[in-house]
């Protein structure tokens, strides 16, 4: 735990010593604003709710979360600090989880900074704050899912651009796996249970459920399982570096 905390703190502070954190936060807040008010038509809807805000999160995260995750391991490999990190008395799982949690905390912080929109909607009307809290929880969990994928992929390369592009593609597949775009490819030849399984991996499906204010155990388990699986892959990938 002590080692994990040390890794977490170092990584979290690492976001703020470069312009990355500030650029990310500004871009994130700007784009949520633009999507909510211009694309989502927040005012035109005339309803006291934040659906117009949350509905775009899966798409924003698709590009913004891999941008946070890409440096996690690729940078360590590039600069040689991976050798330092792995020869310190830190269990690999602690390094992986510590780094991941730091990135997640950073994403959570950016998400928390969208609070003015929540204040706005409360000033303008009487929204169901329970639904809004559920949506925030769902959004945070989804960010965690994207991050776990991005972190594992970052461990496969020393090139951050490669890590970013591959992460976007993999995250995209996970996001849309419930849509006809992906399912049409399988339907007709794959057995129904496989199609159902693929459809059930979709971020959109699970996030939509939570976004509507229903925190179902199945959705929580989905995100928890997804994050655990990709962190496990991450650990295996980092460990595989040591075999040479």
């Amino acid at each position: 735990m002590r080692e994990m905390k040390a890794v977490f703190q170092r990584e979290f502070q690492g976001y703020f010593v470069t312009p990355l954190a500030y650029v990310f936060i500004v871009v994130f807040l700007f784009s949520t604003g633009i999507f909510t008010f211009y694309v989502g038509g927040f005012f035109e809807l005339g309803r006291a709710e934040l659906q117009a805000f949350f509905v775009f999160h899966p798409w924003l995260y698709l590009f913004l979360i891999p941008a946070i995750a890409m440096r996690l391991w690729a940078e360590e490999r590039k600069t040689g600090t991976l050798e330092l990190l792995l020869t310190l008395p830190i269990p690999i799982w602690a390094a992986v989880v510590g780094k991941y949690l730091a990135a997640w905390a950073f994403a959570g912080m950016a998400l928390a900074l969208t609070f003015p929109i929540w204040l706005t909607v409360n000033v303008l009307g009487n929204p169901d704050n329970g639904v809004i809290v559920a949506s925030y929880v769902g959004s945070l969990l989804m960010a965690g899912g994207y991050l776990a994928i991005g972190s594992a992929i970052s461990a496969t390369t020393s090139n951050q651009v490669v890590a970013f592009v591959v992460s976007v593609v993999v995250c995209f597949l996970f996001m849309v796996s419930g849509l006809p775009l992906v399912l049409d490819f399988f339907s007709g030849w794959a057995p129904q249970f496989l199609i159902d399984t693929i459809a059930s991996l979709s971020f959109l499906t699970h996030f939509d459920a939570v976004r509507k204010g229903v925190i179902d155990m199945r959705d929580l388990v989905f995100f928890a399982a997804l994050i655990s699986f990709w962190l496990f892959v991450n650990i295996v990938l980092v460990d595989a570096r040591r075999a040479g």
């Binding site: 040390a6 010593v17 600069t79 600090t81 020869t87 310190l88």
Partner: protein, 336 residues
């Protein structure tokens, strides 16, 4: 229990088809400073990476202070300080933040952390750059940050891959003195290709070539394998060179004499002994009886660089052969 703090047995590392380390065994006792020598690509860094627990060996075992690096890596690593090649560090951190992170990982809290950091900083003379980002520091300072990181917890085992690479002569001297001062209660391995360093700090040297140990002994033992061992070099003025040439050849125990003209007609004679016997006594006897103009008299213990060249194969050699073979082949092809 033996007092060996580093025990390495049958260490092998293969990368796909390449064998980087082909069965290395040795042990290092407390108080020993082992110099790890070898040409580039001989397997020095690969061996050190395995000892530090970064790379997994294909076969063999490594034990540090009684802890098996493979079975109990965390315990072994907590007894070890490691300076990787090139001294990598988080460039966006300052040395203070970086050392604080290392101390935190190694379980130092509160006052103990502060005293561990300030002691490492004092020993590596980092005070003036403590709050500058590491990426803005000079090579010498970066190296010292890596060094401070490795000795922060006063580890009983210290592994350093080219610790003085890129340092100026004053910094090299400081680092060597630091290593010598710490040597008493530690087992230290340093890799280097600077042979003078071996004489300066090592109590023992191992030369490896193509993944195998080709020589193991004290620096003096290794130097004694050189043909310069117990040889004598005399510089004699132009007036007496001819007379000296005749008489030096006849000194008892001399196998052969090499001559080299120096500036202003001064001749340098190097006398090689037969069977490695010491020549200096006989030569001084002769010189005492003559009234030659002797400007310099050097008795040698041996030359480590020569021994190094003799027992290692430069990686340039096979490549050169291949290239010439290739050229011939292409000439033939063109002739046709």
């Amino acid at each position: 229990m033996s007092n060996s703090m580093i025990e390495i047995a049958g260490l092998v590392k293969k990368f796909d088809t390449i064998t980087a380390v082909a069965g290395i065994s040795f042990s290092v006792k407390k108080g020993e400073v082992l110099g790890f020598l070898g040409p580039n690509g001989a397997g020095k860094s690969t061996t050190m990476k395995m000892i530090a627990g970064y790379l997994l060996p294909t076969a063999g075992s490594i034990t540090l202070c009684g802890y098996d690096v493979l079975r109990n890596p965390i315990a072994a690593q907590s007894q070890t300080g490691y300076l990787p090649e090139g001294a990598p560090a988080y460039g966006d951190m300052t040395p203070r933040q970086f050392l604080n992170f290392i101390a935190q990982v190694r379980g130092y809290d509160g006052k103990r952390r502060q005293s561990a950091i300030s002691s490492a900083v004092a020993r590596t003379q980092l005070e003036q750059v403590l709050d500058q980002p590491i990426e803005t520091l000079s090579k010498g300072f970066k190296r010292r940050v890596g060094f401070a990181q490795a000795i922060l917890h006063d580890p009983p085992v210290l592994i350093m891959d080219e610790p003085t690479d890129g340092l100026d002569p004053n910094q090299k001297f400081a680092v060597r003195r630091l290593i010598s001062n710490m040597a008493e209660d530690k087992a230290i391995i340093i890799s280097t290709h600077i042979l003078e360093e071996v004489d300066a700090v090592c109590t023992r040297a191992i030369i490896i070539d193509r993944g195998k140990i080709v020589a193991d002994g004290t620096p003096q033992d290794l130097a004694a394998r050189s043909r310069y061992h117990n040889s004598v070099t005399v510089h004699i003025g132009p007036d007496h060179a001819a007379a000296a040439r005749a008489k030096l050849k006849k000194v008892e125990g001399v196998k052969e004499v090499h001559e080299k003209p120096l500036s202003q007609g001064v001749m340098s004679f190097t006398l090689f002994p037969r069977d490695g016997k010491r020549l200096i006594n006989k030569v001084t006897e002769l010189l005492g009886g003559e009234h030659w103009d002797v400007s310099s008299l050097i008795a040698e213990g041996g030359r480590l660089d020569e021994v190094f060249r003799d027992c290692t194969t430069s990686d340039a050699k096979p490549a050169a052969i291949d290239r010439s073979a290739g050229k011939q082949a292409s000439k033939k092809a063109r002739a046709k």
